[in-house]
Homo-oligomer: 458 residues x 2
């Protein structure tokens, strides 16, 4: 095939994988079947990405960008007529500026290495989630990844100062801004953040770093009603003056699952409460921060917002509390989990969850139901787990998404759309919004070669 | 004129101002000469904006959106063949949700009313700057306004959750998202934030509110070198764990100007130091926050970062310190001020300012030079003031912008581009970036009727 020869000329023969070399790779972290891509191209520079895309553009060849393959919406699943584009060779950290508090790097660097590099300079890269070891930083930008620190530091979008991206036709847009403030005309980087590689391929980045926290205060508390959970969020947020860095809520069923054998976790609080909250603050003065944290928590107990509480008094205790929140393995024990990542106004949440759980119980009684999430950001994860079935998955999706649409919620808070949620997108977006998205797509990728069919219909 | 008749049918005859009714209005806050617009149209709803734009689009009629006219880059200066579009009748606050911490409102509400409405609910709208009484909230979004709180809460962009906008052809894009996290496809609101009304007219908004701070700590400190200023920023930011809310730096000349008669301010510290910093933190616990603030400041004094300091011990003292920073009137006493709003990496700042001041001194010795700004955000304001002269203005611009371009700085940190900075834009943006901006403009406003010639060349 002529195009493959051209691509070999650009990136070198060793860096155009085909046949068994492609099949040896899995589709993704979730789907271990062999990758079906026509080829996987591995450029070493922005210039090679540019030339490779120009060639694909000229040939009308669909291209699927591939990161660490840890996404959850099949955004990187390449079919047999698609070429995968992996930036795995572009993993250079170019520089850290500790005064300006920025890091400049290539898009193929794994998230964890970004965090580690920042740490070496007493700085923090605040985006963090479970797949940190494999997720490419460029892919976290392309998907606007969330995670646990959003309540304090925002989404990935809020940590991107500048970037370089390549358009479908090979045009390089170098917009490597290093400043927090830059209103010199359109903020082009926004086009490439959260658009899942459908408008361009991010090749380099300037990220904002923060001063690393010097102290952490962590507690698990129990609440007797949802109204108390919401009031607790407002109380702690106000009392801690900007240092609240996690507010993770678990409904009772979730808490019992992860604190009952065969789960390894033990219950730090009685298992009878309807809601549990994992609270964390991070600050700059360990002694003063701990006193302030405990005072704020004490007020919440006194005023009846909190029914019971345990404060971590060591790093081991802190890790044990977080291990409960992160013990998602338990879902797999119970069958095939159907997972959701939705957001809606906090004021609608109690009523919404009640409706979803009632629908699921009535229509899919064989599936167990769990709810947890980043309540401080309006983001819930809902899991239904039971016998694997295509019909059940569809029916469960209906139970979750329909009441969400009625409340103007979002079908994707932090995981994106990919192929997986594409059929449901019209529940969260109006026809006018979708038409404008298509107009953007047509303007930037007129031949539709970039990740076609993901996010928007092909 | 047929178009004016159509517009009258849409918004009512009283709401299409022409002739003397237009001339009775000033061009802007800075330019008091009569407005030259062909007409000023004042719609009362998104639907009227939509119909009015559809009519202008059909007629190829240029439209200039008008807010409170307090911008500094001539973004709203309508010429005799342009129609002004003012949302001054769209000033309804629709709702406040104290649980979700959002406010929903029309775009013509003045910023100060947004702040006051939030305050009634114990909440804060964190964007703040001098023109708060007249600036329309929609215009602050269209210009991505900055201000004093950016170091803590970000730019206006970071406070916009959702919006409704009307495209040039009248298409209404209603994207009134209320959630902090929403990755359901492209984040369309970004197209209308900071694009100065060239891609669409923002008509309604959902803004994010924060818990109102319960305590403020304020100090003015003197530093003997720029390196100390930078280290102080890092030290205070780390020690205060997220509550640092202002870090405003004044070079010596600025400090002396505002603390020497006829200025009303008196020097809270000796006038001999090269740099002064106005520091502020805001928190949730007055007593504890004050102790932590003073401890952090004490460490800075002990380690030699700070040469002298004064901490405000009352609201009156706090206001007196801020009054120094805000006493920009003094520039006008000395002649015609030529002002700049630039940003560059903090690590380049000392060297850059030295070069600019030397150039100005050599080439424009009749002009006095002042430097101050939001150093925590990499944003400086430079003022040269002296005899009014068109040539001098151009020459001074050259002295400021050329060394900036060499350091990859931005010619506009927070004030935008408008007409004023358009000729200099190529210093901050590459040809590829400008071409992509034009591609976006063509996709969204193919006939080029929205604020033509502002931001990008017509």
């Amino acid at each position: 095939m002529e195009l493959l020869q051209t691509l070999q000329n650009i990136v070198g023969a060793d860096n155009v994988l085909t046949g068994d070399a492609v099949r040896a790779r899995a589709v993704s972290w979730v789907d271990h079947s062999p990758c079906q891509a026509l080829a996987i191209v591995r450029p070493a520079s922005t210039e090679q990405v540019s030339r490779a895309l120009a060639a694909c553009h000229a040939a009308g060849q669909p291209v699927v960008p591939m990161g660490g393959l840890t996404g959850l919406v099949r955004g990187c699943t390449a079919g047999p007529h698609e070429i995968g584009l992996s930036l795995e060779r572009m993993h250079r950290i170019e520089s850290v500026d500790p005064v300006n508090r920025t890091i400049t790097l290539e898009a193929g660097v794994p998230l964890q290495l970004v965090q580690q590099e920042a740490d070496k300079h007493g700085l923090l890269y605040p985006v963090d989630f479970g797949a940190r070891g494999s997720a490419h930083i460029g892919a976290t930008v392309a998907t606007n990844a969330g995670g646990n620190g959003v309540i304090r530091y925002g989404m990935t979008r809020d940590s991107v100062l500048g970037l370089e991206a390549v358009l479908a036709d090979g045009t390089v847009i170098s917009s490597m801004n290093q400043m927090i403030k830059n209103n010199a005309a359109y903020d082009l980087k926004q086009l490439f953040i959260g658009t899942e590689g459908t408008l361009g391929i991010v090749t380099r980045l300037v990220l904002r770093l923060r001063e690393a926290p010097r102290s952490l205060q962590t507690a698990m508390v129990a609440c007797s009603g949802f109204g108390n959970v919401v009031q607790l969020l407002k109380h702690m947020d106000a009392a801690l003056g900007g240092s609240l860095s996690a507010f993770e809520v678990m409904w009772n069923e979730f808490f019992r699952l992860v604190t009952t054998p065969p789960a390894r976790g033990t219950p730090p609080l009685g298992q009878e409460h309807p809601y549990y909250v994992l609270l964390e603050a991070s600050g700059g003065n360990a002694e003063r921060d701990q006193a302030r944290f405990e005072e704020a928590l004490g007020e919440a107990i006194e005023s009846g917002l909190v029914a019971d509480a345990v404060v971590a008094s060591s790093e081991a205790q802190r890790e044990a509390l977080w291990a409960l929140r992160d013990d998602l393995e338990q879902f797999f024990r119970l069958g095939m989990p159907v997972g959701f990542d939705i957001s809606l106004p906090v004021s609608e949440m109690e009523d919404y969850v009640r409706e979803v759980l009632a629908r699921l119980e009535q229509q899919w009684p064989a599936y167990r139901r769990f709810v947890f999430g980043h309540l401080g950001d309006g983001n819930l994860h809902i899991i239904a787990t039971g016998p694997p079935s295509r019909d059940a998955k569809l029916g469960i999706e209906r139970c979750v998404y329909e009441p969400l649409a009625a409340r103007n919620g979002s079908i994707s808070a932090e995981h994106g759309i990919g192929l997986e949620k594409q059929p449901w997108l019209a529940l969260s977006r109006s026809e006018a919004e979708l038409a404008l998205m298509r107009r953007l797509k047509a303007a930037l990728d007129p031949r539709g070669i970039l990740n076609p069919g993901r996010v928007l219909p092909a």
